[in-house]
């Protein structure tokens, strides 16, 4: 009864459905964090269950290897558990744990000195053109996918993070600012630079970005 009352009190004025949903999620997360701090591991497990894919997806975009992304994700949640007492709640738990993920990935890449990451070809990561395409289109789509991945890998970490968080993970600018620990203005700048560089790289590779799709330009 008291939990339901707390949820109702969060609805102030007129809010859109996504806002309402986000606020409920944040209220639930706050309660889980509070319980996890007292040693309730089941509460922490609920948080892990909720956000494991967000963390894993972001880690995977950096390391392009399932095993390494798995290890990194576990390290993130271990670190987050140890730092729970320092979580102030001014950002959402999701933003906070993604920030830890981004920092962990940055450190990992520094240690590994990864400048380019080879495509690991694992089933879940493979750029699998649709089976509906004819063989030529499928080959072209595969080539484009590889070109985009190579291009993204050449971006500086900050720009790569901005591009992935926006285009793949669909975070808002505000959420991205929380994850990258910078201002919204900086987020916009990094995103702009990432897009501009990617466009230039793809055009140099012979891919035209026009209409609603990208395609290889005929050079013959």
């Amino acid at each position: 009864m008291s939990v339901a009352l707390e949820s109702v009190l969060l609805y102030e004025g007129s809010v859109t459905e996504p806002d309402r949903e986000n606020r409920v999620i944040e209220a639930d997360d706050a309660e889980l964090v509070s319980r996890a701090r007292t040693g309730d591991f089941a509460a922490y497990e609920a948080l892990v269950r909720q956000y494991r894919n967000d963390v894993f997806a972001l880690a995977y975009h950096f390391v392009r290897n399932r095993e390494e992304a798995w290890d990194l994700s576990q390290e993130v949640f271990i670190k987050a558990h140890r730092a729970l007492k320092r979580f102030r709640g001014d950002a959402s738990f999701k933003t906070w744990v993604l920030r830890i993920t981004a920092n962990q990935c940055k450190d990992f890449l520094k240690k590994r000195r990864l400048k380019t990451v080879s495509f690991d070809g694992s089933p879940q990561a493979a750029n699998r053109p649709s089976a509906d395409l004819d063989p030529r289109d499928r080959a072209e789509a595969h080539e484009l996918g590889q070109a985009i991945q190579r291009a993204v890998d050449t971006l500086p970490v900050k720009h790569r993070t901005a591009f992935v968080l926006r285009e793949i993970e669909g975070l808002s600018y505000q959420e991205m600012a929380g994850v990258m620990n910078c201002s919204v203005g900086t987020v916009m700048s990094r995103l702009h630079h990432a897009r501009r560089k990617l466009r230039n790289l793809l055009e140099k590779s012979g891919f035209a970005l026009e209409g609603t799709s990208a395609s290889k330009e005929n050079t013959s």
Binding site: F41, E45, V48, R49, R52, N53, F56, A57, Y60, H61, R66, A69, W70, S73, Q74, E75, F77, I78, H81, R82, Q124, A125, N127, R128, A141, L144, G145, Q146, I148, Q149, V152, F163, V164, R166, E167, I168, E169, S172, Y173, M188, L191, H192, R195, L198, R199, L202, L209, E210, G211, T212, S213, A214
Partner: protein, 148 residues
């Protein structure tokens, strides 16, 4: 660059209704249209070629087991580091002290010579000798008070 960033904000859903009307007017320009289209194409191509990897529900127990193990593992704290550093420093000081004592002891003793000895006690005798270590010994005996 400013208009490009405005278009990006619009595409990313970060502009309010008032600004969106300004953007729609901007999009009547063919160059702006082309840029907007390229933004769409880049985003779509990236999402198609970089699918979102995840951890399936059946993998979750194994994932959680690793986290639990990490959480329960005792953390190597900085306190341990400082204790070790203090102990090492203390051991080093002791070792240096012992070393210096050993080195000093092995030095050759300085031999001393008694050049003169005198006493104001009437009837007393003074004798001196220097032992093997170079230590000079002086003793004064009052033979008058001896009892036989």
């Amino acid at each position: 660059m400013k208009w490009q960033q405005r278009l990006e904000q619009y595409r990313d859903g970060e502009l309010g209704d008032v600004d969106a009307r300004e953007i729609e007017a901007m999009l009547e320009d063919p160059a702006h249209q082309a840029y907007d289209a390229s933004l769409n194409a880049l985003g779509a191509a990236a999402r198609a070629s970089m699918p979102r990897a995840g951890i399936a529900d059946e993998q979750l127990p194994a994932f959680m087991a690793g986290i639990r193990e990490g959480v329960e593992r005792p953390q190597r704290g900085y306190r341990g580091f400082w204790a070790l550093a203090s102990l090492s420093t203390a051991a080093l000081i002791v070792a240096l002290s012992v070393f210096s004592v050993i080195m000093l002891k092995s030095q050759d003793a300085v031999h001393s010579t008694v050049e003169a000895a005198a006493t104001e006690i009437e009837g007393a005798e003074i004798d001196t000798y220097v032992d093997d270590d170079g230590t000079a010994v002086v003793w004064v005996s009052d033979t008058g008070s001896d009892t036989w």
